[in-house]
């Protein structure tokens, strides 16, 4: 499969008139893992929601393209079918809809009419992916996210990612609220899924998850812009020194 490219150029985003993302550039290719780190309020989640097309986020300027195709005019479902995926920080509960039913609907929506998976093919695929994430089979029959623990919700997001096999997956603070065991399972799952045909953007506050996911690039997002980019050693520096030193460097004009 040819390498794909997600390109974000000069992106400006506002919510209810307030600008949150202020000229962001980023290029991600399939096979790469990018980490976006930043303090609270820097615009990390806004970036995630904007890329996926949440109606509350207004793009004021810039473009986002997958392989040269503008996705900003697309509805969220079209973006999903174009290969984008967002693992939510706070997944929604949908009562009365089982995980299995939801996943089958979603997988078949991606595959398109006339190309749906048979019930047995789907069941096999679901079983494999659930084993990968060390999930109990009974999980498939539970209502989507209803009554799930924080860890179960996150694992369920990664299960969806595994089933939908996107070109580009954004993980929005997937590590938050996970204990160390759950974090390892989720990370191992992501490492097994990603391969050369998936680009991953890991949005996080902490470097903890990055020890497992081994990013190729680390970007620091502050006040709506990427202010530093580097390799995974940048994450270690942030872990040691926090974000303030970067802010000081920027303010003193050495940026």
């Amino acid at each position: 499969m040819a390498q794909s490219k997600l390109e974000i150029k000069n992106l400006h985003v506002s919510i209810e008139g307030k600008e949150i993302v202020k000229g962001l550039d980023l290029e991600v290719k399939t096979g790469e893992v990018h980490a976006i780190m930043g303090p609270n309020g820097s615009g990390k989640s806004t970036l995630a929601y904007t890329l996926m097309g949440h109606p509350r986020y207004e793009v004021e300027e810039g473009f986002v393209e997958i392989d040269g195709v503008d996705i900003l005019e697309m509805a969220p479902d079209e973006r999903a079918r174009a290969g984008l995926f967002l693992a939510f920080q706070y997944p929604m509960e949908v009562s009365g809809v089982t995980v299995a039913n939801f996943l089958r609907t979603a997988v078949n929506a991606h595959r398109g009419e006339g190309n749906e998976l048979s019930v047995t093919e789907f069941a096999k695929m679901l079983r494999e992916k659930m084993e990968l994430l060390e999930m109990d089979p009974s999980f498939a029959n539970r209502y989507l996210n209803e009554g799930f623990s924080g860890g179960e919700k996150k694992r369920n997001e990664i299960l969806q990612m595994a089933m939908l096999q996107p070109k580009f997956a954004i993980m929005d603070e997937t590590d938050s609220g996970l204990d160390i065991d759950a974090l390892q399972i989720v990370s191992n799952g992501v490492n097994a899924i990603k391969g050369p045909n998936m680009g991953v953007i890991v949005i996080t506050h902490y470097s903890r998850i990055l020890r497992y996911l081994q990013p190729d690039y680390v970007h620091v997002l502050m006040d709506g812009k990427i202010v530093r980019s580097g390799g995974k050693e940048l994450a270690e520096t942030l872990e040691e020194k926090g974000y303030d030193w970067i802010r000081e460097e920027i303010e003193s004009g050495r940026a």
Binding site: M52, G53, H54, P55, R56, A75, P76, D77, R79, A80, R81, F85, L86, F88, P91, M92, V94, S95, G96, V97, N101, F102, T105, A106, A109, H110, Y143, L144, Q160, L164
Partner: protein, 434 residues
Amino acid sequence: MSVEMSTALTEKRINELAHEKAEPDWLLDWRLKAFRAFEAAKLPKWDRTNIDFIRFETIEPFRAPAFSGDGKDLPADLQKVVQSVDEDGALLIQLDSGIAFRQLPKELAEQGVIFTSLEEAAREHPELVREHLGQVILPDEDKLLALHAAFAAGGAFVYVPKNVKVKQPLQFYVYSETDGLGLFPHILIVADEGSEVAFVDSYRSGEADNHIVSQAFEIVAKDNARVTLGTVQGWGERTVAFHTRRARIGRDASVKLTLGELGSQLTRSSNRMFLDGDGSEARALMVFFGDQEQHLDVGLVMTHVGEHTTSDMLTKGVLKDKARGVYRALTDIEDKARNTTAFQRENTLVLSPEARIDAIPGLEIEETEVQAGHAATVGQIDEDELFYLMSRGLTEQAATKLVVDGFFDPILQRIPLESARVELQALIDRKMLR
């Protein structure tokens, strides 16, 4: 001698029809008395549901095309129904005002089970019909019920003798493809002591669906009887329908009702159960779904009379487009109905800003030793919920359908009659996809 046929609502027409159908005199008298009540009464006035537009002079009260009886000359929809029922299934089909198909397995007939049109029952089993007809729903209660009694045609009469347990559900279909027709199918179910029966009734229209319906559905569950009912109302989009269903429940008897109100332009569905006997039980699961400019007015009343009685009502409704829903529920616990347990819950999901629900739950308690509660909620699909589902590749329509299916799922899972559940789901799917 040829008789000039009148299509208007007249005493003369009632006489002619009774003559044609060779009905007993007592039934004709009953009809004429009802007709006089119809003429004397004014249209009922209900808050939130206005029916002043009804023009009685345009209603044709009876039309019964002839059919061979083997089912092969029925409209395609009904042929499918006939084919879906195997040899030991019991099925009665009313097309317009007449019975077009009937099947009752020999085994049931030999046990004394009666399942036929009300008219035939009045001829063949006059004592049984006369004893129970119009006892639960009085023929002169209001103008629409009086019109129903005067012209009741087709319909179903069910009698299950003492301690007989009918395994397969009895199925009754009413279908019309005639504009301007008045449809008055009367259902009378008498479940004798210790008997068990399930009854499924379904209402559909063909292309020409501009009919008016007034129905009385009477249920008598005698001591220790178990009655399970599944109604799917799927009238065409120009039909105006008035359904009155009422049950009297004896000692330690139970009636379980599943009701789907989905069709019609306007429906007033008025349902009531009397828990007369000590230890009696009533359960109602109701689903309504209005779209376009539909008006669905659904009511449920549980009247507790005996001691140690239990009632439970669960209603779920969805409204989209410009549909209007009215939900009226009352738990009515009479004096001396000690140790009553009664619950009612209702949830509506409103899919459009132009759709509207009025939910009016109520409790009237004249006895202190009771456990009773009610709850009604109205919700919308959350923007974030829709976004979440769409982010997985589902179109807005598919995402909405998934939420609606999930909303109905808990109630559909509880429906004890498979065929009613399948039919309801099919009607819900059709509404979601148009």
